[in-house]
Symmetry: D3
Subunit: 69 residues, 6 copies
């Protein structure tokens, strides 16, 4: 499957906090960097997301803002 | 200024394509990785975004999906 | 590849309008229903999106609002 | 009221899971298809969303991605 | 029609810039404040959006970030 | 720091509801108007968000829809 979302960043799950509906997943990008994602609790279960699993962060380009100093 | 968006990733602008309303900005993260952003043409001008400029990609956690192989 | 986005709806591309940065793609769901998507021009090219192609609309649950009469 | 969001899909509420802040609502589209939405718990209450209620899923075109096999 | 989006802010259209796919609409909130929206060119036409028209900016709560000084 | 998000609206925190992952923050804009935001519980803690604090609602233009009567 190919997806139109322009950003796909590989990493390893570092932490998972599960609420009643949402879950916060921290992904370790391996160079001291992390990405934090909020998805549904059901997706955490459907994808078998747990600490140590290799995953991809997927981000649509129109969701990315730019900041400058 | 601090922002609630959980993801702030430093990089350097690699490419800018400007349309009549939107602009696509490619940010080089320095390790062979890139992030692509779509913002308004006006923001490109307001922030002085051009090739070589140091910028941050800013992404709200709820905009980050997760994929698995 | 499995993705955390909860909504994947099959259809066939009915129309594509390409601008300088963005593109609007209309997907026919086959029962008189359609879904309209705005992605980048580059994604249209990368995925070979053209009229008649079978595709999936993919939508993160947190992007779906609900309305009532 | 007319809204700029290009996608309005009619269905019937099939399931509601309510957390402290967010709620996950599953909408049955009637042909074996479903759409899952995450909105606030307050919106579930304000709109009187409950199983069996006729509702519309509303989605901005820029929130719709496209995938291909 | 009632919608789950928690934010509906009344204003008057101050400026419209139309591209091939997207359009940028500036809404005057009346107290020296403005909101800028990017929607599709087709929505501008479907809703008859033009300078001076009374409109509402509609924003899903999960799209609102918070910043502090 | 300057950000590409086109909308930055000043206000004062009126209410905070914190769940296990997400939090709902109501911001008083001072003229009888409010904006509701859903961010992560962690951001509420990182930014020290509490009732009475001066904050800014920050919204990307592509997240703003338009409705008409």
């Amino acid at each position: 499957m190919k997806i139109s979302a322009r950003n796909t960043i590989k990493g390893k799950v570092k932490n998972v906090v599960v609420g009643q509906v949402s879950a916060e997943v921290t992904i370790d990008l391996g160079n001291g960097k992390e990405i934090v994602s909020v998805i549904t609790k059901n997706s955490v279960e459907n994808l078998g997301i747990k600490v140590g699993k290799e995953v991809y962060a997927v981000i649509k380009a129109s969701s990315v803002m730019i900041a400058t100093d």
